[in-house]
């Protein structure tokens, strides 16, 4: 027996919303989805009129839907924003080069200017080369750290005011869980913020308009709107620690669909004791990027890669930062520990 849409009651429902369980027709779903993102943007005050906003585009479903919705809302509600696409090429064969083709297609479909920055030109290393040196564990650290800086550098080259990324509710919930499991209290406090703090120069604020949109709803939206996106998992991702948090979250969602938002709510409402040591924001003494230590993480990682000591950035080695800055050679024992594990 066909079910009627619970919003307009006239048309037949074609999908069930994962978020609330209501049955909706196509148009009402589109409208509800876009409207929720609009509410998120307006209530958090994410953008101001006349700003140039770079959309972090990877060719995947989140960034494709984000680009589409931002374009639609910009016109519908007259945000007055100047939108453009920014993409990062990590140099993963068979994954990134395919997804970049999708981004180029998006550029034509949405008529937005596109800029691509690559790890090769910024750092001199592609992810394939990094994985060859580091191995199959801990390589997500390199990719993530480098990408954040690459996005910022690309945005600075384009002179944008804000960056927005396609992080969805599932991503934020996974991050909360992962930070609890790893005991990272500093990140736990910051990770549910919808946009990063914007004090200090050289730091372009980043925001997540899709923060309250479920991943499944994003897929539903892209499917019904027939949006073109690239849907393969990164070939290096199966060994990441985040996979555990993701599996747990998926199971939680199957028991209680609202769990994802519940986890985000917990993350937003928890408070940290005063007196717990927190990192202070400063700048890297080598490249000038924001950092809480003397050397920023990507400089440390790069140093490790260039010297053939890939474990330099994994774990805490503050004492070595001084040595690295001063260009002193490391002792034999230290070098041995930092090399990749041979199998």
């Amino acid at each position: 027996m066909p079910v009627q849409c619970s919003n307009c009651v006239q048309r037949r429902a074609v999908l069930k919303r994962p978020k609330t369980g209501h049955s909706l027709c196509k148009d009402c779903f589109f409208w509800a989805f876009e409207e929720e993102i609009h509410q998120t943007i307006v209530s958090a005050g994410l953008f101001n009129r006349g700003e140039t906003v770079a959309i972090g585009a990877s060719g995947g479903k989140d960034s494709t839907v984000l680009a589409h919705v931002m374009k639609v809302l910009n016109e519908r509600y007259d945000y007055g924003l100047n939108l453009l696409l920014l993409s990062v090429d990590e140099g993963i064969t068979g994954y990134r080069d395919d997804s970049l083709e999708t981004v180029k297609r998006n550029q034509q479909q949405y008529e937005l200017p596109l800029k691509i920055v690559s790890y090769e030109e910024l750092y001199g290393w592609t992810m394939d080369a990094i994985v060859k040196q580091v191995g199959l564990k801990n390589n997500c650290t390199f990719c993530g750290v480098f990408r954040r800086q690459a996005l910022d550098r690309g945005a600075m080259m384009l002179k944008v005011d804000k960056i927005c990324t396609g992080h969805n509710a599932d991503d934020v919930a996974e991050t909360v869980l992962m930070n609890v499991l790893r005991g990272d209290i500093a990140r736990l406090r910051r990770c549910t913020a919808i946009s990063t703090a914007s004090e200090g120069e050289g730091a372009i604020p980043r925001c997540k308009p899709l923060k309250y949109a479920y991943e499944k709803e994003i897929v539903l939206y892209a499917y019904f709107k027939k949006l073109d996106y690239f849907s393969t998992e990164c070939i290096y991702s199966p060994n990441a620690y985040r996979g555990h948090a993701r599996a747990f979250l998926k199971d939680l969602e199957s028991i209680r669909p609202s769990s994802i938002i519940d986890v985000i709510h917990s993350g937003e409402t928890l408070s940290v004791k005063d007196g717990v040591k927190m990192p202070v924001q400063g700048t890297c003494s080598r490249c000038g990027y924001i950092s809480s230590q003397a050397l920023c993480k990507s400089c440390v990682l790069l140093e490790g890669l260039n010297r053939g000591l890939p474990k330099l950035g994994i774990g805490k080695h503050h004492r070595l930062h001084g040595k690295i800055l001063a260009q002193e050679p490391l002792t034999e024992q230290e070098e041995k520990k930092l090399k990749a594990v041979d199998f």
């Binding site: 619970s6 919003n7 307009c8 009651v9 919303r17 978020k19 609330t20 909706l24 009402c28 509800a32 409207e35 929720e36 509410q39 998120t40 209530s43 958090a44 005050g45 564990k137 801990n138 909360v176 869980l177 609890v180 499991l181 790893r182 005991g183 990272d184 209290i185 990140r187 736990l188 919808i194 309250y212 620690y241 555990h244 747990f248 199971d251 939680l252 028991i255 209680r256 609202s258 769990s259 938002i261 519940d262 986890v263 709510h265 917990s266 993350g267 937003e268 409402t269 928890l270 408070s271 940290v272 004791k273 717990v276 994994i314 774990g315 805490k316 080695h317 024992q333 230290e334 520990k337």
Partner: protein
């Protein structure tokens, strides 16, 4: 390797540090005795050192936190499981020592028989109760065996947080201890005898109506997650009531480190982020006059199991709501299997989660004599966390609900109904009134208790004390709205 705070001391890799276990390892503490077990990753202990370590940890936990004052009445919540029975054994051990550092409080035991909610038969329940009774009488402390059905005869004062007695001069811990030592020298034998005579043993029998009511309550909850949550809430209320009635100012719960790590994660999944520190911290002051402490929170379940086995601590296994259910039956069960499996691959998982919980705290609303109990959740008595600003997850859920449904015109509907002249009485207007009741209850609850009630079919299956208190609070808030412009102070 996945811990952020992990420091590589001298850059030693983990692989090279763990010695291969052999049969002739020496205890790492006394270096003489042969090791009989390994705790944490690679610490080997001999039998006597392990016993000392175990006992010392308990006393250190109490001593470090300094919340139990001498001569205080402390209620031990025993569920029959290994952890709470170990706690009971430790308390016995601590009180019986002749050393000057004897533990100095007066314990009582409480056991809540929740067989009615778990679907156990009366024979099974009686059997467990008898087994437990024999353990309790051995200890010589007064004990209370309370069936969960007694929830239906609780007063509404349970839901109101009490204030700590303003009469007590509230000395600092050190002063209290010194005072006690001076007074102790005047203790006579007669006093000791009269203390024994005061041994109150209470065992309540449940009436059949209450049994039916409890079954109805639990069958109206649709998911196992909601059932477990409700069971936890009712149990806490019952313990609180018994503690208040018999003058106990502290309650000791036997939650171990592993159990608390699972609780922390499942509470995050349930939306209880605001109250994480109270739910899993050492002391839980949300009830005001009765403080819940968790002295076993430093012990991993492995240590407790090893101790129980080696030193023959009696315990009774009693099946609960989620015994023998599959992994995905409820959020709590899922979290338990997740953490246990992760712990197998990454042995520092539980201790990392435990340390994270130590860095959190609960934001308490300003305490004062004029604090309206309405600012606390009706069921779990934590501060309401639903007064968040518009850019938040909670607000996003409200927006989604609105956008996915046709707008309900409540006021016009009611007006139409009454205009039809069907003789609607006051307050019992029409069938549409049942959903507003559901709605009204929600405004009195915190985020996660809302989710529990959402899973409930018939809200009137709740015990009468909850319903009465809810109505009272709703009336008060309606009153408040009427006169809000004339109130001078902000009664927060």
């Amino acid at each position: 390797m996945c811990q952020v705070e992990e420091d590589y001391n001298g850059l030693e890799c983990k692989q090279e540090k763990i010695p291969v276990p052999t049969l002739n390892r020496k205890c790492m503490k006394c270096k003489e005795g042969t090791a009989v077990l390994i705790i944490r990753v690679s610490d080997a202990f001999c039998r006597s050192c392990f016993k000392e370590y175990f006992i010392h940890k308990f006393r250190a936990m109490l001593g470090k936190n300094r919340v139990i004052f001498p001569q205080e009445k402390v209620l031990l919540a025993v569920s029959g499981g290994a952890a709470s029975c170990s706690m009971l054994a430790q308390v016995q051990e601590g009180l019986s020592r002749d050393a000057p550092k004897k533990l100095r409080f007066m314990p009582g035991i409480i056991y809540i028989d929740d067989g009615g909610a778990c679907g156990r038969s009366s024979e099974e329940r009686q059997r467990s109760v008898d087994q437990l009774k024999s353990i309790f009488t051995e200890t010589g402390f007064p004990y209370f065996i309370v069936p969960l059905e007694q929830v239906f005869s609780l007063p509404t004062s349970v839901l109101v947080p009490g204030t700590s007695d303003p009469d007590s001069s509230n000395p600092s811990y050190k002063q209290a201890v010194d005072q006690y030592i001076k007074e102790k020298q005047k203790l006579t034998e007669e006093e000791a005898a009269s203390a024994v005579a005061q041994l109150r043993i209470e065992e309540s029998v449940c009436s059949p109506e209450h049994k039916l009511a409890l079954e109805r309550l639990f069958s109206s909850l649709n998911t196992l997650t909601a059932k477990e949550d409700m069971l936890q809430i009712l149990r806490q209320h019952l313990i609180l009531h018994i503690a208040r009635e018999n003058g106990y100012s502290k309650v000791m719960m036997g939650d171990s480190c592993s159990r608390l790590a699972v609780k922390l994660l499942s509470n995050i999944a349930l939306g209880r982020g605001a109250a994480l520190a109270s739910d899993t911290g050492f002391s839980d002051p949300r009830y005001g006059d009765v403080v819940i402490v968790r002295p076993m929170r430093d012990y991993s379940s492995k240590e407790i199991a090893a101790y129980s086995r080696m030193f023959h601590v009696p315990s009774v296994f009693i099946s609960g709501l989620d015994t023998k259910t599959h992994d995905k039956a409820s959020i709590q069960r899922l979290t338990e299997s997740f953490v246990t499996n992760l712990q197998a691959d990454f042995p520092s998982t539980v201790s990392t989660i435990y340390r994270t919980s130590e860095k959190l705290h609960t934001v308490m609303p300003s305490q004062g004599q004029t604090t309206e109990p309405a600012s606390k959740c009706l069921l779990c008595l934590c501060a309401l966390d639903t007064n968040v600003d518009k850019a938040s997850a909670f607000h996003a859920t409200l927006v989604s609900e609105q956008l996915s449904q046709i707008k309900l015109q409540d006021t016009s509907h009611d007006a139409r109904c009454c205009a039809e002249g069907q003789g609607c009485g006051t307050g019992g207007c029409c069938s549409s009134n049942r959903s507003p009741e559901h709605q009204d209850l929600k405004t009195l609850l915190c985020y996660s208790c809302r989710l529990t009630i959402k899973d409930m079919g018939a809200v009137d299956a709740l015990p009468p004390y909850i319903i009465t208190e809810a109505e009272k609070r709703q009336k008060r808030s309606r009153m408040r709205m009427e006169i809000s412009e004339y109130l001078l102070e902000d009664e927060d």
